[in-house]
Symmetry: C2
Amino acid sequence: MLIHTIDEVREKVKEWKKQGFTVGLVPTMGALHNGHLSLIKKSVEKCDKTVVSVFVNPIQFCPGEDLEKYPRTLDADEKLCNDAGVDIIFAPSPKEMYGDGHILSNDFLTYVIPPFFYVNKLCGKSRVGHFDGVCTVVNKLFNIVQPDFAFFGEKDRQQLIILKKMVKDLNIPVRIIPCPIVREENGLALSSRNKYLSDEDKQHALALSKILFNIKACYNNGIKDVSELSETAYSYLNNHHSLEYLEFRDADDLEEKKTADDNTIVFIALKIGNVRLIDNIALR
Amino acid sequence: MLIHTIDEVREKVKEWKKQGFTVGLVPTMGALHNGHLSLIKKSVEKCDKTVVSVFVNPIQFCPGEDLEKYPRTLDADEKLCNDAGVDIIFAPSPKEMYGDGHILSNDFLTYVIPPFFYVNKLCGKSRVGHFDGVCTVVNKLFNIVQPDFAFFGEKDRQQLIILKKMVKDLNIPVRIIPCPIVREENGLALSSRNKYLSDEDKQHALALSKILFNIKACYNNGIKDVSELSETAYSYLNNHHSLEYLEFRDADDLEEKKTADDNTIVFIALKIGNVRLIDNIALR
């Protein structure tokens, strides 16, 4: 069932809760692919009722980012959700979520702000304010839907770690369920932004997963020194690639690692033309 | 019943909700007086179950403020609550609320940050970060207790307006119930900080309510010009008083008023020795 208003979602969820049903939420920006589908399937399997939110959240886009041209495919998203057994597709307008009075800034809007230590690195460095927007909208969605479980992909691992921290810090009564990255057969992690890639770019994009898989193989072969592991990346890079970061960080608090261990995540961000892609792998 | 842990409160409230009871929350910092009691009575009257939280929240005190010497009177608070029919007194330790790992800063803690336009004036001007701490702890308490209603005094009117804005902006499923200021017979608004006043200071403290009552009388007599109304204050001030602000602002969004109207609140902050007192009055 496609719902556009907050009141209608609340009413539905209230009925469910009265009947003792558990509720799962899968927050998305739409343009659903098999990565999202894996989250949705997990929710449908685990919870009595599943809500998928489809909302291109303006406040998590930074100046110069792709808010206007971000893919919007609600009809296809709705079909995918219905086929997967989703109970509600919640697709509010920006006005429904933020009103239409003031501009969307921290001058006039209450924000949920993740800790600086978690956002001053990796994607947060180039995407200033991005995680503030993510935490704020996820907090709103949690308050609107009041799910028991919420499903997030490990593809956006920094986001996942920040949201887990938010839930802990603010005592939010929602359990976050992390879901593994879904990859094409060739290794490319699924992302809505892959649509921006030409066929040739897609070949170059394989560098991300190749670099990560190779680092994991080296780690499994006994190499623990982070500089040494990092150096293995360069053989996969060419002049079509602009490497933004390749970093080794703790899976819980994002502290930097000098020596890799089983709680280390390797994070990579790479630009191919104008398209910025991210990927990561757990060494465990 | 006195409860110190988050898990126990949650368990109790869960039982209540299963039985269909409505829940009221009265968040306090303890040192309860008749002002708090009026909030508590309202909750007990309106809701099936009432939780009073007693927590001196470290993150809402600014550098140089009275965190250490803030009055703590849990035994008396407990008795007052029990006599008033409160179901749970929730008195967590700072460690229970914030853990004991990192320091309490936005480097390592997720904060709920009210809009700058609401905090860059009145008390927010001198108490930098105060309302960030208030919004964060109230958000936590809402998530822990999940009340249907929460009761706040109009004494802290800027706080009340900011919390209503937070609830709206973040779609928090709690209804905020404002409660009128309770005054001594002589007009002095009740406050935990009145304990710091000597008998002589208490006499000087009457200036706050006298100024506000007189302004309201003048307004009712047809004076609408804010400068003219402000000037009436000076006859009540002497060299024991240090006036921090006397301002006329909108009851909903705190916009400054040049001409008073029925939606205007008059705010005053006055220092007597080292004790900072606030008061306000609605012109409606």
